[in-house]
């Protein structure tokens, strides 16, 4: 298939793997421990597992799968708020399909729907707007979530609703931001990450500039990366090459999509509708300063949080869940105590088991489960001995 197969060519992959292997001699720190590279974005994690990239890499490269799956990192309290909104009799609650299964403290949206709440899956915020036009006697709420990638489309939908004077449309805003989260990971004391693959579609909106702090203030190489398997391999090679040459820069591997300055009209729409929250709660990572956005006051009538009362309770993550350590690369997904036991994709406990883009779900679905679990038990035995 044109424009797809070119980016999945196994012969080109072999060439890139050989180039990656050739850098081994030039990176002396490999002798001490494997290099840890973090792909921040859940889309990258998905590609890595779907194409079986991890086993193709040499064992001196360890991929750390970051928190860039907005569905995964949604805290339970926010899911409870969604359920409370959706269960109002006057409300049609609209959401992207992958948020349906995220567990709240009592139930998921899928369960609430089965119990009678009017919850509808949409493919675009504009579908919600259309529902609002068609149902003037109902309140239509769009569950807005995602990083900067999806912010412009939500912002433009709100502006459209305002233009049309649609008073029965509102957003439950759970948009989150990339930069403060990468910073929180970099500031964590047990962090050992040597380089980053930056999220390609976030960068398409925000451009290259916001990532400069990673290379400038934290001395870590970072490469903006596309979502095809060859994109991933090429970016890994680019990060390693920076390490080998003692460089720390922001490089753009995904230049076919990402303009250096980002998407100006998109950024303007975001700026117009949203402002930074003081802090936002993340499942697995806790509260991170400035890591989310809310709607500006002039759009209050489109803000479900202001328009309706929501429980707004903070629900702690289950204690046995080690998502935070996995996210920072301190342990591997299968090393978590509950992985594959009480935490599975059918009954997820932790954030990373929730969506197919989560690292634990990826290991569970695409990995060799019996082998991983016996490896964990072996390690535990050695640790206690």
């Amino acid at each position: 298939m044109k424009y797809v197969d070119e980016f999945r060519d196994p012969e080109k992959a072999k060439v890139l793997i050989a180039k990656i292997n050739a850098l081994y001699e030039q990176i002396p720190q490999i002798a001490i421990r494997p290099l840890q590279l973090m792909e921040f974005c859940g889309g990258h994690t998905h590609t890595i597992f779907r194409y079986g990239i991890e086993p193709m890499l040499p064992d001196w490269i360890e991929l750390i799968h970051g928190p860039g799956c907005p569905v995964c990192v949604l805290p339970m309290g926010r899911v409870d708020d969604c359920v409370a909104l959706a269960e109002r009799p006057d409300v049609i609650f609209t959401t992207f399909g992958d948020a349906m299964r995220v567990p709240g403290s009592k139930k998921s949206l899928l369960q609430a729907k089965a119990e009678g709440a009017d919850i509808r899956m949409v493919y675009s915020p504009l579908d919600s707007l259309e529902l609002a036009r068609k149902n003037p006697d109902r309140q239509v709420i769009f569950f807005a979530l995602g990083f900067e990638t999806t912010m412009p489309s939500t912002a433009l939908t709100v502006l459209q609703a305002k233009n049309e004077g649609l008073d029965n449309f509102s957003l439950f805003c759970n948009h989150i931001t990339t930069v403060p989260t990468i910073k929180a990971i970099l500031d964590s004391p047990d962090m050992k990450i040597d380089g980053f693959l930056a999220p390609g579609h976030v960068s398409m909106v925000v451009g290259e500039q916001p990532f400069h702090f990673v290379s400038d203030a934290y001395d870590k190489p970072i490469v903006i990366t596309g979502f095809e398997p060859l994109d991933i391999l090429q970016s890994i090679w680019m990060v390693l090459k920076q390490i080998a040459e003692n460089r720390c820069e922001v490089e753009n591997q995904y230049a076919r999509i990402v303009p250096p300055a980002g998407n100006e009209p998109g950024l303007k729409a975001i700026e117009k509708v949203f402002e930074i929250r003081e802090f936002f709660e993340w499942r697995g990572l806790g509260s991170i300063d400035h890591s989310g956005v809310k709607m500006r006051n002039e759009f209050a009538r489109f803000d479900a949080e202001q328009k309706f009362s929501i429980p707004n309770l903070k629900i702690a993550d289950p204690k046995s869940c080690q998502c935070g350590e996995v996210l920072k690369g301190v342990i591997r997904p299968w090393e978590c105590k509950v992985f594959g036991g009480s935490c599975t994709p059918e009954t997820p406990m932790g954030a990373l088991m929730v969506s197919t883009e989560g690292a634990c779900a990826a290991y569970y679905n695409f990995g060799n489960l019996p082998e991983l679990l016996s490896k964990r038990d072996q390690q535990n035995k050695e640790n206690t001995a």
Binding site: K14, G52, P55, P229, E346, F366, N368
Partner: protein, 351 residues
Amino acid sequence: MSTSSRVRRTLSSEIITLAHGSGGKAMRDLIDDVFVSVFDNDYLSPLEDQARFDLSALSAYGDRLAFTTDSYVVDPLFFPGGDIGKLAVTGTVNDLAVGGAKPLYLTCSMIIEEGLAVSELRRVVHSMKIAADEAGVVIVTGDTKVVQRGAADKLFINTAGVGVIASGINMSTNSAQPGDAVIINGYVGDHGAAIVDARGEMALENSIESDCQTLNELIDAMLKICPQARCIRDATRGGVATVLNEFAEASSVAITINETSVPVRHEVRGMCEILGLDPLYLANEGKLLAIIPGDRADEVLKGMLQHPAGQHSAIIGYVSEQPAGRVILQTGFGGNRIIDMLVGEQLPRIC
């Protein structure tokens, strides 16, 4: 009682109402005019509460009876390549055929939402008749219920089927052995993709048709070539991935699939790329997976390729010992990954 001894009633109503399920005259009109006149056979026409078969005639076909049932709730009722009626026949016929049975008799039980256009019901029944004739089965008994608006969605159909398994044919999911080959009879994912398309929610334009077809003749041909076939399943909901996992688990073997040898149409691949679906998990309604002893695989494949339902057949993988119970995909990119069972529902009401 012979078919001709009773005057058939006619139905004049244009939509189905609760009266058509009441047991009275309106219901007789419906049954006579829409069902009996179309299905038209001596088992059904007497309108007894049950169809009656001659046991000695059945036993001439083999030494075991096969019995199955399936319900059909597909939305929309009509889609490119088929409709709920065709599906209700092909699905149940295939469930018999994959066990090595010769399908013979089907039941037809309908739950109709009031307000359904009689013309739509006639179309569905007509499709059932054509599909039944093609498969060589007879629809011998049925039931009709009408429920009020909202209690069902337009039309649900249940069909049960009876068939006979010839002596010497012993297929089961737990009999795959290392060295066996995995064969599929054509393109995967067509039905799932056609339904997504027919719902129109994605506003995609393409020409994908459901693969909805009966497989009994193809399976018959395969078993003639190789009566020692280990197991055959039709890959419906959950797709190819789910059936392979069932084989691997039941037989305690590993199954390795080569991604590039799995036939997928360009249009289906394109749709999957856009929507983030995996063709291996998409539903099929006319695809079978067969585990065949390795030394017979080429011969079976050759036979399948000559059959209309097997024109695009391919050997897509093989069975080995380890890791037992797992399905491994060799990706076209050169990596490996595990293919697990589907978690949750990829697409609701697909069949």
